[in-house]
C-alpha cells in the first residue's frame, strides 16, 4: 500500500549534503556583494497569508521529511516564494539530552559574538554547519549553524527560581534582541526548525530534510505582503521545544505583546507568530495549563456561550477570560503549535482562516486544506473541520526520549540518521496496525475536538 506520492524530485536523489562547500560559500558575502537582508528589516510587522500543514505520529514512530514537503508543496499557491520552513521533532536522537540551537548569522562577526555569549552559560557539546545543498532557486543564504548545548551548572545556581528552561529562553531573547545579525531559529531538545526565503518545497530540498527522521513535522508556506522577506521572518517560529506555524493576522497583537512584556518576554521580531509562541510558553510551561485550556484562552468562548454553561463551568470560564483577557488572540488565524509531546491545531474564535484535521491510525494531520492531507494520506480514517476555537490535539503515547538516551555516546557523524527505505517499511507496518486501531480511535477523536 502506497503511503503517499513522493515528489519526483526526491526519488532516487542521493545527493549528500556538502557541508564544507556550503561553509565556504558563507564567507562569500562578507565581501559586500550582497546587501544585508537575511536578518535585517526585522523592525516591521508584515501581514502575511499562508499555508500550514502538520503531521504527527502519536506512537512516536519517526518518518522522513518527504511527506511534509509533499503536503505543503501542494498548497504552493498559498505562498509566494518569500518564506517557507519546517519544524521537526525527534530528529536528533543521539544528542537528545542537549539543547539543539539552530542559528542564522548574517556575518561572521555575529557568529563569533553569539558563540562567545553561548560559551558563558553552556558547554558546546557539538557544533557544525546545518547541512544544506545547492538549490537553483535559492541563490543566497545566511550562515546556518547548529549547536548542541549543555547548560553549565554555574549558570543555573544564581537563582533557585530560575529554571534551565528560563536560562534557554533568556539566551534566545538575548541573542535575538542584542546581537543584531544573529538569530536563533530553534532551541529545543531533539528538535529543529529549518526555514528560509523561498517556496517551502525548495527550502525543504535546500535543508536536505529527506535525511531526517521525526515523529512530528510541521510546515509553513508564507505569503508576506511585501518583499521585506528575511530568513528570520519565515515560520516556524521556535522557543525551547515550542514551534509555531501560523496563518493569520493577529489584531490583538499590540496588547498581546505588552502583556508578554509583563512576564519578561521581549518580542524582538514584530511577528504574530513570535507572540503566539511566547503566549503558549507562558500559559503552558510557566502557568502549567493544559493545551485544552491554552486553546480556551487563545480562542476564548463567547460570553453568550459561557452564559449557557452549567454554573461551575460558567464561573470557571468567566474567571479564565477575566484573568487572561489580554492573552486572547483576536483576528483570523489557523495555527499549529507543537512541543515534544504534543501537536495542537487551533482556529480563531470565528474560524476566519481554514484548518482541516484528519486521523489515520497513529497519525494525526492538520492542514490549511484537505487536499494537502489527502495528498499524503489518501484514505484517512476520519477527516473533520474543527470548529472555531476547538483545538485538535495530538499527544505522544510514549516518551520519545527512551530510545535515544543510551545512544548519546554514539558517533557525532551519525546525525541525521538517513534511511528512506526503512521509513517506507515502518510506514507499511504502522499502516497495518493503524487500520485495526481505527475504530477505537473514533472515540478518541471526539474527545480531541472537545
Amino acid at each position: 500500500m502506497k503511503k503517499w506520492r513522493m515528489d519526483s524530485r526526491f526519488r532516487g536523489n542521493d545527493a549528500r549534503c556538502e557541508n564544507v562547500a556550503r561553509c565556504e560559500n558563507y564567507t562569500g558575502y562578507g565581501n559586500g556583494m550582497l546587501e544585508k537582508t537575511f536578518l535585517a528589516d526585522r523592525d516591521y510587522r508584515v501581514p502575511a497569508g499562508c499555508g500550514v500543514s502538520g503531521i504527527m505520529n502519536e506512537a512516536g514512530e519517526r518518518f522522513s521529511g518527504e511527506a511534509i514537503i509533499t503536503s505543503i508543496a501542494l498548497m504552493r499557491d498559498r505562498s509566494n516564494g518569500l518564506g517557507g520552513g519546517f519544524a521537526a521533532y525527534g530528529i536528533y536522537p543521539d544528542l537528545a539530552s542537549y539543547y539543539a540551537f539552530h542559528l542564522m548569522y548574517e556575518t561572521e562577526d555575529a557568529k563569533r559574538q553569539a558563540e562567545e555569549y553561548l560559551k558563558l552559560s553552556y558547554t558546546i557539546m557539538h557544533d557544525e554547519p546545518i547541512p544544506s545543498r545547492e538549490v537553483k532557486v535559492i541563490t543566497r543564504s545566511p550562515i546556518l549553524w547548529r549547536y548542541f548545548l549543555k547548560p553549565r551548572e554555574e549558570a543555573l545556581v544564581r537563582n533557585p527560581l530560575f529554571s534551565e528552561e528560563d536560562l534557554i529562553a533568556q539566551t534566545v531573547m538575548h541573542i535575538n534582541g542584542q546581537i543584531r545579525d544573529a538569530l536563533v531559529a530553534s532551541s529545543g531538545k531533539n528538535m529543529g526548525i529549518f526555514k528560509g526565503v523561498g517556496y517551502p518545497e525548495d527550502i525543504g530540498e535546500f535543508y536536505c530534510l529527506e535525511n531526517y527522521q521525526g515523529y512530528i513535522w510541521t510546515a509553513h508556506g508564507r505569503f508576506p505582503t511585501n518583499s521585506v522577506a528575511w530568513w528570520g521572518g519565515a515560520h516556524p517560529f521556535g522557543l525551547l521545544d515550542w514551534s509555531v506555524v501560523h496563518n493569520g493576522e493577529i489584531s490583538s497583537y499590540g496588547i498581546n505583546r505588552r502583556y508578554l512584556q509583563n512576564f519578561g518576554y521581549l518580542c524582538s521580531f514584530f511577528t504574530d507568530t513570535e507572540v503566539i509562541t511566547y503566549l503558549v510558553d507562558l500559559l503552558s510551561r510557566k502557568h502549567g495549563l493544559s493545551f485544552e485550556l491554552v486553546a480556551k484562552i487563545l480562542a476564548a468562548p463567547f460570553w453568550v456561550d459561557i452564559e449557557r454553561m452549567p454554573e461551575e463551568e460558567k464561573e470557571f470560564y468567566q474567571g479564565l477570560r477575566m484573568i487572561y483577557g489580554s492573552a486572547l488572540l483576536n483576528g483570523p488565524f489557523g495555527v499549529i503549535v507543537c512541543n515534544t509531546e504534543t501537536m495542537l491545531g487551533l482556529n480563531d474564535r470565528l474560524k476566519l482562516r481554514p484548518l482541516v484535521a484528519a486521523r489515520w491510525g497513529d497519525f494525526i494531520y492538520v492542514a490549511s486544506e484537505e487536499s494537502a492531507i489527502r495528498e499524503i494520506c489518501p484514505r484517512p480514517d476520519r477527516v473533520w473541520m474543527p470548529r472555531a476555537g476547538d483545538p485538535v490535539i495530538g499527544r505522544l503515547k510514549q516518551e520519545p526520549g527512551d530510545r535515544s538516551q543510551e545512544s548519546e555516546v554514539r558517533s557525532r557523524e551519525n546525525i541525521p540518521a538517513t534511511d528512506r527505505d526503512s521509513w517506507v517499511d515502518q510506514a507499511l507496518a504502522i499502516d497495518g496496525q493503524g487500520l485495526r486501531a481505527a475504530s477505537q480511535d473514533d472515540k478518541a477523536d471526539t474527545q480531541e475536538v472537545l
Binding site: 496588547i255 505588552r258 485544552e292 468567566q318 487572561y324 483576536n330
Partner: protein, 509 residues
C-alpha cells in the same frame, strides 16, 4: 467712580413679528432675563442676565428667540482676552474668587483629535457586528495574575476555580456615569442616571452626596463614594452600593475640596447628606485621616472590613503631573480600581482659575498610568477607569486602546439630559432641571424620559464602538484594551507620541 458695567456674554434676539407675547419665556427663565410689561403688552429681555442655556430658545412656541454670543469686542489683543477683562472687573468689584461650573473650556490640545484609529483591509477581515458577536462586556476589579495549575490539570478533568476571583463589577459596555452628587444635581437627574445604569447593565456614582432613600433599590448599579466631607456615609450606605470609591481628587479642581452652598441644602438634601438644612456642605481639600499613602491603605481596608470584603473598593484621583506613581501607590495600597479624572473633567462648582490651570489631559494620564502599572507588573491588580471630557464614542474607544478598562462620562450624560454647558451649575438656577434643587426647575426633568435618553446614548455609543472594533477585526473589548497598535498620532510631537506610546500616522506596524 461709577460701577463699571460688565460686558454681556450673550445677546437675546427677539423676532417681534413672531413673538405672540405669551410670556412662556418669562416664566421659564430662572435668571429673570425676560420680563413682561402689561401696559405696553410687550415682552422685553435684559441680555445681561442671559447665561446662554438656550432653554427659552428651545421652548419658545413660535421660535421667536435666538441666543447669540455678544459680538462687542475690545481692541484686538493677543494677550488680553475679553473674558479676562470681565474676570478682573468682577473681582475688582467683589474681591472674591471666581466660580464656574463644568469642565475646563480653555484651548489646550485635545489629544483625542490627534489620534486616529485603524481598520482592517484584505490581509485581515473586518468583522460585521450585525452578523458576529461583538463583545463589550467588561469586568472591573482586582484580578489574579494567573490560574494556579492545581485548579485545573489535564484533559477531561472537570474544570473548577479553586481560588475565587475577587469581587468584580460587570459592565455590559465599558462606560459608567461619573460621580455627580445629589445636591449638586437634582434628584430627578440622579434617578435618570440610576435607572439608565440599571437598565443598561452599567453603574452610576453617587458622588459625595450620599444616597437618597428612593435610590436604594438601584444599589446593584451604584458606586457609592466616600469623600473628604464624609457626607451621607454610614454602614447602610456602604452596603447599599455595588462598589465603593474613595474620592481623593477631581479633575476640575485637583488639590481642593468642595463647597455646596447652603441654598442648595433643602430638607431632602439635608437628610441624605446628614447635615443641617441650609448649612454649607464643605468638603475639605484633603481627607483629614489621609495624610499619606499608608493612611489611604487603612481607609481602603476599613471600608473593606465594613463591607465584609464583599465589594471592590476603588480610589479616584485627579490627573496631575505625578499621576503614574500616585496611581501605582494607590494600587499597591489595595485599591481594586483607580479612577483618573483629567483636566477637562466636569464639576458643579470650582474656582475658575483652578479649573482652567491645574491638572493634565486625561489622554496623557491614561497612557502614563497604564504604562507604569505594566512596568511594575501590577496592571492586573486593579482596573483603570478614565474620566474627563469624553465627547464621542471615538474618544472612548481611543481611551480603551490607550489602556483604560472603562470610562466615566459625566458632562456628556448631562448634555443628553438637556445641558447646554452654560457653566452656571454653581448658581443653582439650572433651567434644565439638572444642577438645581428648586422644585419649580427640577420638575422640568422627567426621570423616565431622562433615563430613556441616557439608555439611548449608551446604546448608540456602544453600537458605534462595536462598529469600529469590527472594522479593526477585533471582536472582544479585551483585545482592544491597551492595544496601542490600533492608534496612530497625527500632528503630535515626538515626546507626545512617546508618552502616549503610539506611532505617528503613516508608520506601519
Amino acid at each position: 467712580m461709577a460701577k463699571i458695567p460688565i460686558v454681556q456674554d450673550f445677546v437675546v434676539e427677539r423676532d417681534e413679528d413672531k413673538c405672540i407675547h405669551c410670556q412662556v419665556c418669562c416664566r421659564m427663565c430662572s435668571n429673570d432675563a425676560h420680563t413682561y410689561d402689561q401696559e405696553s403688552d410687550r415682552v422685553s429681555t435684559d441680555s445681561h442676565k442671559c447665561v446662554g442655556c438656550h432653554f427659552c430658545e428651545s421652548f419658545c412656541p413660535t421660535s421667536a428667540l435666538t441666543i447669540r454670543r455678544n459680538s462687542s469686542e475690545i481692541r484686538q489683543n493677543a494677550n488680553w482676552k475679553q473674558e479676562m477683562l470681565t474676570w478682573i472687573s468682577k473681582q475688582a468689584d467683589t474681591g472674591g474668587v471666581l466660580l464656574t461650573g463644568m469642565g475646563c473650556d480653555q484651548p489646550y490640545p485635545v489629544y483625542w483629535d490627534h489620534i486616529l484609529l485603524n481598520a482592517s483591509q484584505v490581509t485581515n477581515p473586518s468583522i460585521d457586528p450585525l452578523r458576529e458577536p461583538m463583545e463589550l462586556r467588561t469586568y472591573l476589579g482586582r484580578k489574579p495574575d494567573r490560574l494556579e495549575p492545581e485548579d485545573i490539570k489535564g484533559p477531561g478533568k472537570k474544570v473548577h476555580l479553586k481560588s475565587k476571583i475577587g469581587n468584580q463589577l460587570m459592565l455590559q459596555t465599558p462606560i459608567l456615569f461619573s460621580a455627580m452628587s445629589y445636591g449638586s444635581i437634582s434628584l430627578n437627574a440622579c434617578k435618570s442616571l440610576a435607572w439608565a445604569a440599571s437598565e443598561f447593565g452599567t453603574f452610576y456614582n453617587t458622588g459625595e452626596g450620599g444616597l437618597h432613600r428612593d435610590l436604594y433599590p438601584y444599589g446593584a448599579n451604584t458606586i457609592v463614594q466616600v469623600a473628604s466631607g464624609r457626607f451621607g456615609v454610614h454602614e447602610e450606605y456602604l452596603k447599599a452600593g455595588a462598589a465603593i470609591e474613595i474620592k481623593i481628587g477631581q479633575g476640575a479642581k485637583p488639590g481642593i475640596g468642595g463647597h455646596l452652598p447652603g441654598e442648595k441644602v433643602n430638607e431632602e438634601v439635608s437628610r441624605t447628606r446628614m447635615i443641617p438644612m441650609g448649612s454649607d456642605a464643605i468638603s475639605p481639600a484633603p481627607h483629614h485621616d489621609i495624610y499619606s499613602i499608608e493612611d489611604l491603605r487603612q481607609l481602603i481596608y476599613a471600608l473593606k472590613e465594613a463591607t465584609r470584603y464583599e465589594k471592590p473598593v476603588g480610589v479616584k484621583i485627579s490627573a496631575v503631573h505625578n499621576v503614574a506613581p500616585i496611581a501605582t501607590g494607590v494600587v499597591r495600597a489595595g485599591a481594586d480600581f483607580v479612577s483618573i479624572d483629567g483636566l477637562r473633567g466636569g464639576t458643579g462648582a470650582a474656582p475658575t482659575v483652578i479649573r482652567n490651570n491645574v491638572g493634565i489631559p486625561i489622554e496623557l494620564a491614561i497612557a502614563a498610568v497604564d504604562t507604569r502599572l505594566r512596568q511594575e507588573g501590577i496592571r492586573n491588580h486593579a482596573s483603570v477607569i478614565a474620566a474627563g471630557g469624553f465627547r464621542t464614542s471615538g474618544d472612548i474607544i481611543k481611551a480603551i486602546a490607550l489602556g483604560a478598562d472603562a470610562v466615566y462620562i459625566g458632562t456628556s450624560a448631562l448634555v443628553g439630559l438637556g445641558c447646554h454647558l452654560c457653566q452656571k451649575c454653581y448658581t443653582g438656577k439650572c433651567n434644565w432641571g439638572i444642577a438645581t434643587q428648586d422644585p419649580f426647575l427640577t420638575k422640568r426633568l422627567n426621570p423616565n424620559i431622562g433615563a430613556r435618553r441616557l439608555v439611548n446614548l449608551l446604546r448608540a455609543w456602544s453600537l458605534e464602538i462595536k462598529e469600529m472594533m469590527g472594522g479593526m477585526g477585533i471582536n472582544a473589548v479585551e483585545s482592544l484594551r491597551g492595544n496601542r497598535e490600533a492608534l496612530r498620532g497625527v500632528g503630535l510631537s515626538d515626546t507626545d507620541l512617546q508618552i502616549l506610546g503610539i506611532k505617528p500616522a503613516g508608520e506601519a506596524w
